[in-house]
């Protein structure tokens, strides 16, 4: 028969058992608080702390006179953490009409049970809607302030300004070009939340700093006028598009850079890629007759041709199986360089080119800046195509001097004419006048052609306007020098030139003796047919006249 054990021994045994258990608890607790401390601290922050970053306020873009072109405007964004949303269906029903989104899609976003997966429900909603949602106090929803980019002038210089995306980063145009300045330092905030989404405390708050304001060389008034005139021209001629550059030849400042059809910069994201482009910089075209001044300039510099001399020009010229003719039928003539330009004689220009020689012509085309970037401070500049002489065919010398068989950008053309306007010194075209309070210095000019030759060219170009080449470009009280261009466009398959589609252009400078402005107007595919002198010159006349008055330039 088993006897009863000694209670006191059993009590000590019990105490020993308890001690063993407590030692195990101590061991586990110490393990959790030392070895596992880091892991669980990280897990704690992961579930308790949310970090919010808010983009810095973006710098304002001003025109040269301090008018706002692009500004930041306060807007609210709304995010949700589905984990904290108690009733996704009800929340979706409430939010869908307010945010104008599909209820099903919203419900899907709100129903995900992934831990700590914030999703944006809407970005940059208007303050009134934001207030309604905030007043509903739905757990798991957060509002935060963001900045919405607004372009108060709407279409003015839209393609130049480009746009900034929802995260306030520059995506195109000057917004992209100047992004590093416009973007400030973002702020951030670390907030401790309870599981229901109530804020417990703010751990840290970094305010960040606002981006730098930027002043462009663009003059809002000139830009607006240019766009207005181009729009009228486009509708009058049923043209596809039109573009204009107004440039100060002395320092390279672009005063206007217009692309028509215009677009509203505020709706940039919904606009087709085609219409977003600042075509004056990123598109190339065959310049046509407008290029003949470059050919003559090259000839003068090389000494292949000289002022005062006349050149025999046959009615037609056969080159490598191709027949070159002038636009207007004429008999055999002896013309000097001025007459060649006034009549925009193809045979004359080719004669000058042949006298200059292929290699020399090519070199001077390149010296004028074609085939390489102008260095304008705009993203995505095209360089065009200038074939080297070794790639030329027998007929190429019949093309290049008259602006065919090579492609250029409008800004290259404006820069080349600015060299002629600026007594032979090339300046880099530019769009940025100042970053913050720091004016942007213009690059030092490079001499391209002699002052004498540039004056000579200007006098020829003045004759073009004043002696019959482009009478519609004349401006009362001013002497205008300029050149028309009527460039046939290649057919889409590049097999031949189109009979219907061409680019009518005019480039001019005023006052001819000491030009302050170089203005290029291009009209793409005007119908019915009209040369550059008919289509582009009147637009040039209006835009330039307005600009001269606005800028108070003396004749």
């Amino acid at each position: 028969m088993p006897v009863l054990a000694d209670p006191n021994r059993r009590i000590r045994f019990t105490l020993f058992l308890f001690l063993l258990v407590f030692i195990a608890v101590i061991g586990k607790t110490v393990y959790l608080q030392t070895v596992k401390a880091e892991e669980f601290s990280a897990k704690a922050s992961e579930q308790q702390v949310k970090e919010f970053t808010f983009p810095a306020r973006r710098g304002t873009i001003f025109d040269r006179n301090g008018h706002e072109l692009a500004v930041g405007e306060e807007a609210k964004s709304i995010t949700a953490d589905p984990f904290y949303i108690e009733n996704p269906l009800e929340t979706a029903e409430f939010l869908a009409p307010l945010l104008k989104v599909d209820q099903k899609e919203l419900l899907e976003k709100l129903s995900s049970r992934e831990k700590s997966s914030s999703v944006y429900l809407a970005r940059k909603i208007d303050p009134a809607t934001a207030a309604i949602i905030e007043d509903a106090h739905i757990s798991g929803l957060w509002m935060h302030s963001e900045e919405k980019r607004r372009y108060p002038q709407k279409q003015v210089a839209a393609q130049v300004l480009g746009f900034a995306g929802t995260d306030n980063q520059g995506l195109a145009g000057m917004e992209l070009q100047l992004d590093e300045y416009l973007t400030g330092t973002g702020g951030s905030q670390r907030i401790v939340f309870d599981p229901a989404g109530n804020q417990i405390e703010t751990l840290s708050l970094e305010e960040g700093s606002r981006g730098t304001d930027v002043t462009l060389t663009i003059d809002q008034a000139l830009q607006f006028e240019a766009e207005k005139v181009l729009s009228e021209t486009v509708s009058q001629w049923s043209a596809k598009s039109a573009a204009c550059i107004i440039m100060n030849p002395k320092n390279g400042e672009i005063l206007a850079m217009a692309n028509v059809p215009t677009v509203d910069a505020n709706t940039f994201s919904q606009i087709s890629e085609d219409q977003r482009r600042n075509r004056t910089v990123v598109d190339t075209y065959e310049p046509g007759s407008i290029f003949k001044a470059v050919t003559v300039g090259a000839g003068l510099e090389v000494g292949a041709v000289a002022p005062g001399q006349t050149y025999y020009l046959p009615t037609t010229l056969e080159l490598g199986g191709r027949t070159i003719k002038d636009a207007v039928d004429r008999g055999e003539v002896d013309w000097d360089l001025g007459q060649i330009l006034v009549h925009s004689s193809n045979i004359g220009a080719v004669t000058v080119g042949m006298r200059t020689g292929e290699a020399q012509l090519d070199e001077w085309i390149r010296r004028f800046g074609f085939g390489s970037p102008t260095g304008i401070d705009f993203p995505g500049e095209e360089i065009g195509i200038v074939w080297p002489p070794e790639d030329w065919s027998e007929s190429t010398i019949g093309n290049v001097p008259i602006g065919q068989g090579l492609s250029v950008t409008a800004v290259q053309m404006a820069a080349a004419y600015s060299t002629i306007a600026n007594n032979g010194i090339a300046v880099t075209p530019r769009l940025v006048r100042a970053i913050g309070d720091e004016p942007v210095a213009s690059a030092e000019g490079r001499r391209i052609i002699s002052e004498q030759n540039s004056r000579q060219l200007r006098s020829y170009l003045q004759m073009v306007v004043e002696e019959g080449g482009a009478p519609l470009a004349q401006i009362d009280g001013y002497h205008v020098a300029g050149k028309t261009g009527t460039a046939q466009k290649l057919l889409p398959d590049h097999s031949a030139y189109s009979d219907e589609d061409y680019i009518g252009s005019f480039i001019g400078m005023v006052p001819a003796s000491d030009p302050q402005l170089v203005v290029l107007v291009m009209v793409d595919e005007p119908h019915p047919f009209g040369g550059g002198g008919t289509v582009a010159a009147p637009a040039f006349q209006k835009i330039t006249q307005f600009s001269l008055q606005k800028m108070e330039i003396a004749p």
Binding site: L4, R10, T14, F18, F22, T29, Q33, E39, A44
Partner: protein, 421 residues
């Protein structure tokens, strides 16, 4: 008559000496208990602040209630410390009967108040109490009284089954019906501890232990809820946001406390990340806020508790007192051990609060009442016979010892009957 007089004399004599004899245990236990209670009040306030604020728009809601129960409980403790615990022996069957009755009443729909799917409460407002808590103490007193009165029963399981085991098992069954798994487990551990201390042979204890284990196994297998707790215990990360959520959040709290803690009142886990943060999970919040120091202090407190409780049981030479002391110590330290093992992930979660520290009404009052009884046992002259002064008559001393130290159970029982007769 002379016998009675002599006895009275002896009691008076011992009363004078009791301060010397049980003083250490008395003071130490009181200090540990009050220290733990104070820590509990502070931590319950910290852990419940957010919950109280969001639930009741009054951040002090739980603090106020906890303070009320603490003050009331300390008063009960003081009363019990002054109350001669030997008188509880006769009351034990009555208390047990009342307790069983209350456990039945609480199960009646409309009478018992249910919350979270369990029907555990009687009464309303501050006067709400859990019969199951009261049952713990009643079972201790009942089992101690039976075991001390009829030690022979303890020799075989067949003898013991009806008088000793049937009533606690029935109480356990009623508690499980509420259901209140935590209290049922506590009852089991307490009775097991008492049987162990009473000297019941391990060969006798083995079959009921095996049956209990089997019953637990079967009930777990058939209860999806309990099964979840087991799977969550085995691999909480498998369902980290579901069944494993509570233990993982407990680990996050303890772990993120690290060595130095996040600072008193600075816990983030208590903001509803960790469910039951002011009740069962209070240790995790203490560990989070006060780091390893606070955590070790709590564990040290319960080790001290176990030590003093066992010391009081060891020193008590009155069998009823010894068993009650052992029972109360098993109950309090056992609960603490189960709770601490659960919140650290060493055992599955069962819903056992941490005595003195966790928020709780009836539980705190019963715990403090138990400690009051323990305090009384520590200094009660009935337990001090062995410590009688050496100068005393040797014969008397040896007779006293023979009657009450439990080494000669038959004689003890007979002599007591004579004395009362």
């Amino acid at each position: 008559m002379s016998f009675v007089n002599r006895r009275k004399q002896r009691i008076a004599e011992r009363s004078r000496r009791r301060s010397e004899e049980g003083n250490f245990e008395y003071v130490f236990l009181a200090i540990v208990a009050m220290g733990m209670l104070a820590l509990g009040v502070v931590m319950v306030f910290s852990a419940s602040l957010a919950r109280a604020y969001f639930e009741n728009a009054d951040g002090y809601y739980y603090l106020k209630r906890e303070l009320f129960f603490a003050v009331f409980g300390v008063a009960v403790m003081y009363g019990m410390a002054k109350y001669d615990f030997t008188r509880l022996r006769k009351m034990a069957p009555v208390l047990m009967a009342i307790s069983i009755a209350l456990l039945i009443i609480v199960l009646i729909p409309g009478v018992g108040v249910s919350a979270n799917g369990a029907r555990r409460w009687l009464g309303a407002g501050l006067a709400t109490f859990q019969p199951a808590e009261f049952a713990k103490l009643a079972v201790i007193l009942f089992v101690a009284s039976v075991m001390s009165a009829r030690p022979r029963l303890l020799v075989s399981l067949r003898d013991m089954a009806l008088p000793v085991l049937a009533v606690p098992v029935f109480a356990c069954f009623l508690v499980l019906l509420e259901p209140d798994m935590g209290t049922a487990i506590t009852l089991g551990v307490t009775v097991a501890g008492m049987l162990l201390v009473a000297g019941v042979s391990l060969r006798v204890l083995a079959p009921p232990a095996a049956v209990a284990a089997f019953v637990i196994l079967v009930s777990v297998t058939f209860s999806p809820h309990q099964m979840d707790r087991i799977t969550a215990f085995l691999d909480p990360w498998k369902d980290a946001t579901g069944t494993g959520h509570q233990i993982i959040q407990s680990w996050v709290a303890i772990g993120s406390g690290g060595l130095s803690g996040v600072g008193l009142g600075q816990s983030v886990q208590k903001f509803n990340y960790l469910p039951e943060s002011h009740t069962d999970m209070i240790f995790s919040i203490i560990s989070e806020e006060t780091g390893i120091l606070g955590a070790m202090l709590v564990i040290a407190g319960f080790i001290a508790f176990a030590y003093i409780g066992c010391r009081i049981a060891l020193k008590c030479h009155y069998r009823f007192g010894k068993f009650v002391a052992a029972g109360i110590t098993s109950m309090l330290v056992g609960q603490a051990a189960i709770n601490l093992c659960a919140v650290t992930g060493l055992l599955p979660l069962t819903g056992v609060p941490l005595p003195l520290v966790s928020y709780g009404g009836s539980s705190l009052i019963v715990v403090l009442a138990s400690i009051g009884i323990l305090l009384n046992i520590a200094v009660n002259p009935r337990g001090k016979i062995a410590a009688a002064p050496q100068k005393k008559n040797k014969a008397v001393q040896s007779r006293d010892r023979g009657r009450r130290d439990g080494r000669a159970p038959g004689a003890g029982a007979r002599s007591r009957r004579r004395a009362h007769g």
